[in-house]
Amino acid sequence: MSTSSAFNDEKGGSSSAGEPEYGHDPASGGIFSSDYKRHDDLKEMLDSNKDSLKLEAMKRIVAMIARGKNASDLFPAVVKNVACKNIEVKKLVYVYLVRYAEEQQDLALLSISTFQRGLKDPNQLIRASALRVLSSIRVTIIVPIMMLAIKEAASDMSPYVRKTAAHAIPKLYSLDPEQKDQLIEVIEKLLADKTTLVAGSVVMAFEEVCPERIDLIHKNYRKLCNLLIDVEEWGQVVIINMLTRYARTQFLNPNINESLLEEGGEKAFYGSDDDDDDDDDDDDEEKKAEAAALAKRKPYVMDPDHRLLLRNTKPLLQSRNAAVVMAVAQLYFHLAPKAEVGVIAKALVRLMRSHSEVQYVVLQNVATMTIKRRGMFEPYLKSFYIRSTDPTQIKILKLEVLTNLANETNISTILREFQTYIKSMDKDFVAATIQAIGRCATNIGEVRDTCLNGLVQLLSNRDELVVAESVVVIKKLLQMQPEQHSDIIKHMAKLTDNIQVPMARASILWLIGEYCEHVPKIAPDVLRKMAKTFTNEEDIVKLQIINLAAKLYLTNSKQTKLLTQYVLNLAKYDQNYDIRDRARFIRQLIVPTDKSGALSKYAKKLFLALKPAPVLESPFKDRDHFQLGSLSHLLNAKAGGYQELPDWPESAPDPSVRNVEVKDSVPEWTKCTSRKERKEKKVEKPFYSDSEGESGPTESADSESDSGSGSQSGSEESGSGSESEESEEESESEEEEEEEEDEEEERAKKKKKVDKSKPKKPESAESDQSSGEEQKRIRKGGKDRRSGTESESEDESESESSESESESEEESESDTDIKKKKKTAASKPPPKQTKKESKKETKEMSLLDLDDFEPTPSPQVTPVNSFLSNSLVTDLEGLSLTDTVLAPTTIAPSSSVRLYELLHRITGEGLAVEYCFSRQPFSPDPHMVAVQIQFTNNTTSEAKSLHIEEPKLQSGMRIKEFPEIEVLPAGESVNVVMGIDFCDSTQAANFQLCTHIRKFFVSIQPPVGELMTPAFLTENEFKKEQGQLMGMNEISEKLTLGEKCQSEHVIVERVTSTANLSRVPCGSDKESRFAGKTVSSGSLVLVTVTRKDGAGALLTVNCEKMVIGTMLVKDILQALTQ
């Protein structure tokens, strides 16, 4: 009974619109009491068993929360309803819980079990919502439960639940940062997810939890690029911003060699990526493969991954979402070659027609961009014209942009535009316009006089503020060339009678004082007038009067001596101590007395020194060190959580880290049975997540600068579209091209059959062969400038070469999904692109060439034998270290192993540290180089707790610390082993070596020879491998063997001591062969030394990683010639 009556009361109350019975101020006492009463009613309603009552109560509670009123005392009553069957009640209870759980932790725990049950629900949406609420309850005690729930959800079947898991990660992190490591594991797992639904959310989690772990992105980079267009808008923004940062750490500055890019050339074979020019120059000198010589001409070639990012983000400039457009714009601004940045201008100008808040942000960014890249926005000058209806803040920003855009050719237009602005009613804006005119005048010499005259005219303006602002600006301009403008100064002197704005008066006085020699007659008169009004002036004016007096006294003491003293006397008794101080100081300085110090001699020099003209700079200058589009950029100050945009690396880190392993590629081919089927699929799912509709056109989308779509997809509708487009430009006729396509298609089918017939054939071996083919083709293409496709069709081994393409594409994508597969296939340009492009602008060509080379064998598809040897080695490791898997072996230092000093005895205050590369496999992580470190304690006391701290590593590099040494007694030494993954680069690993009292900064830089481990090959294998690493991967060098090393034995010894290689048997006694593979990526390194007559010899290194190769050549050369 009571319930229903209460309900009715409440109903009446709530239905009368608004909230008359809820006081606005819960703090006032009267309302408190009624509050209690009302809450009792609500409690009763919540306790009832009618859903409608509960719902009504919850609605009103939520309304209270929305208005910011306290409803926390209802917690126990509400929490009981968490298991309510009614979905809406449940929802509102969730809202309530999330709001108040933090305050009522104990009671909140009552609800946990409901969510835990929800997490196991068969319905994915219920699982997701349970996780969402559970993770939103900020109660520390449930951290382990949340952790478990997130982990489980991260491997849920439903992508929607996985997305929710990604959302939950930052929630947990903010609740308990201790969980970071575990959360990173989850992030790593989710990053590998292939659905668009998850991508945006997990990158967001990545950015919040571990933005510094850029290495986690490597393997997912290409996938993220390819998924980008299908990710929802907000995710796109986050991903693009993150990838901008990533690209800055991984690729080379595309604008580094602009001049060199201009002069064109042929194909550049060199993977730009890590080319160290010096090395090249050293080695290139004489005999090098033709390709290498070509490479020298082209020091920079864009990494294909870099190109991929630019290409895949460009369509997003057409997004309706301003944030996405801005994100792409900043990406292009920070990452694109200069010539390509222009594409963003139009899109940004479009945003200017959006809401004023959007305009505000965009203009801020445009202002920064116009300083660096003026040309980009010049065609859109008129879009920045100011309308009288613009808000002042927008006007001022547009003015800034217009000023930045001003140059000799457009200045007259801009000045005329400015003229109309000066008539505006908005005075702040007028003042800003005058400032802008001043800046144009300083920047563009030609119009300085015009501007000055214009400003002088403004001096007779009726508005005092306009006059004052003009005076200030004129003052700055006059400082640049005072002698020519004494009449302006005279004119201004007259203004002192009228202008009352202190700043303007002060500016005039300063000008007269500074250039008193140009106006010798007027200056004393002005001082006279000023002396009269001195006591009534503002402080800044007073200071300038004193200043004027002092200067006049020094130049024209006859006329002004008395005046000056009068002024100084007035100032002496001024109320402001600054003015009193200044007067006292100036009197001492300029009035010669017997006591006056040495300085007074220099008074004239001090006062009348030539002052540099002020530089009128844009406030947006140098703002681009903040990532554009960021909050920090807008504020011009670092906001919390801002990730610095790193500088470009000197040399690019290893690009192969982005390669993704392929699990089984052969079955994929059998899957795509026929063209028809694929077509059908296309109709069903026309575009989303489907690569077909997408991939082809992605390419054709920017067919101007980019390549058309790829090889196999040529048979698809979309692909053929782009293909035919290309063919128009091709030298070959269109028909021929089409035929070719058909042929290609047939070949593909044939190939499929072949695949089926011998499915057991090791994939890698096949790829071997085919990549060899490809090499051939490439070289061929390089020599005679003919289309790759054409040559392909004539090639006797057509099928193989087409296969090679597909194979190599698979290399880079691990995707087993057939659609995905095709997508990648399509995104790799076929070799014929090269030709087409090469006819075009040379620069474009260079960028594309690289795409062409992407399919060169990557480490994951290194040939069979290397796989074998790899596993063999690990097997052996496993055998030898069964007991102490985690304890890496140390070796006794022998003479053959070179010791390097890490810390000298003296700098280390008695602690000496040396290291050597033990050349033992580092068992905890086969991708690491084992570094043996020897500590020697030369002090008389114990050194305690030796360990490593704060490694500062190049991205991608990893370190496995040695276990802490607890005690090192005086006079003793100890050996430990640590592992470092140098990422196949010779960059140093920096870290701190700590004892219990001190920390030392040390670094370990590996010689290139230590970055590899021996590989065991037979002679035949060696030859085969070598056959594939030709062209640009081969570096040979003639040398004259040193006196002591003419025997084979010595050569072997020298080579193996320089580099960690194993010997490969060889039939010829004139030749010695060695093989190894790099530790981090497992790329093969082959070394051949062939002795010629006398002391002559030929050293050949074949290595896919050209930097490693060139450096190794250098090192071995040195070892052999000594």
Partner: protein, 423 residues
Amino acid sequence: MIHSLFLINNAGDIFLEKHWKSVISRSVCDYFFEAQDKAGEPDNVSPVIRTPHHYLINIYREKIFFVSVIQTEVPPLFVIEFLHRVAEMFQDYFGECSEVAIKDNVVIVYELLEEMLDNGFPLATESNILKELIKPPTILRSMVNTITGSSNVGETLPTGQLSTIPWRRAGVKYTNNEAYFDVVEEIDAILDKSGTTVFAEIQGVIDACVKLSGMPDLTLSFMNPRLLDDVSFHPCVRFKRWESERVLSFIPPDGNFRLMSYHVNAQNLVAIPVYVRQNINFFETGSSGRVDITVGPKQTMGKTVENVIVTIHMPKVVLSANLTATQGTYTYDPVTKILVWDIGKLNQQKLPNLKGSLSLQSGAPKPEENPSLNIDLKIQQLAISGLKVNRLDMYVEKYKPFKGVKYVTKAGKFQVLTVPSHV
């Protein structure tokens, strides 16, 4: 990302607050009020305000400030764009985005905000999805709800979230299948006193109202797509098809949405539909001024120009206006100093004219500035750029839909200067 949201009306009342992470006291809004005071006009409040511990990013829409609280780095446009999306969603749900509508539907608003952001990161911002989660209020439903106590929360959860087409709900069914497209163009122009075009460009949008059953796949093509200089699309549009064939190919969301926005370059001569002859003078003596304005049709492609309104921001010293209009009515607001002349339809035979005197504050100097005229107008059945839809095709679904295209031209920022040309 977005920590909290406060909705503030013009009077400075915080009438709604929502927190996605822990609660932030509403006293943080004091910084906003301070900035608002300093700015004077709501338009001039900086969209980003810095406070010692937070950043406030705000937008002003429909007389409401949406003030969001941010704690760490986030792209400001991300937040601004999101806040506008919220406002649009209110508009979509309640027909208007006003304080009253929000207060009346506070529970739905709260549920919406809850769904749109998770931990400050946007979750569901597509209207189609949200409408499946939370049903928009209708008179009928609210009546039924009060009687039966049932809810406005969707019983089944949306499938769109899970599908590959996140903007369209599944299982759409209509008895009348129809698809309407409105091509709306706005002319932005600055004309000088003599009628010369200083600057002109055309902004266009294609708004769609598509009520088709199932999963239709539409293709919309133009007679003259090359006119379009710059475009932006709803995410449903397949960009590559556009790039390669210049057709819009898409699976539409259900209901109303903006398919694309475009821009027609100033290089293509923009037809200016009206001309304005005007004379606004202020006299040195006598504290008065004179107004004489005539508006006439120019390049209208044979269509009638309607809804013509001339708005003039007068200088501060203008106290009142004593004018005669041959057509339409005029009003002068002495507080805001805005003169509005509502003309209506333009008549070729008898050109509307507004003539008379202004009285100025006595003793005040003659105003320096020349006010400019803002023109509003509307032309039905005409896209001033000449853009024409060629055809609309539907694939996948079998039924025959009813199709329609409507063209409208409006004045955007259309200004006539009262000073001579400077170009």
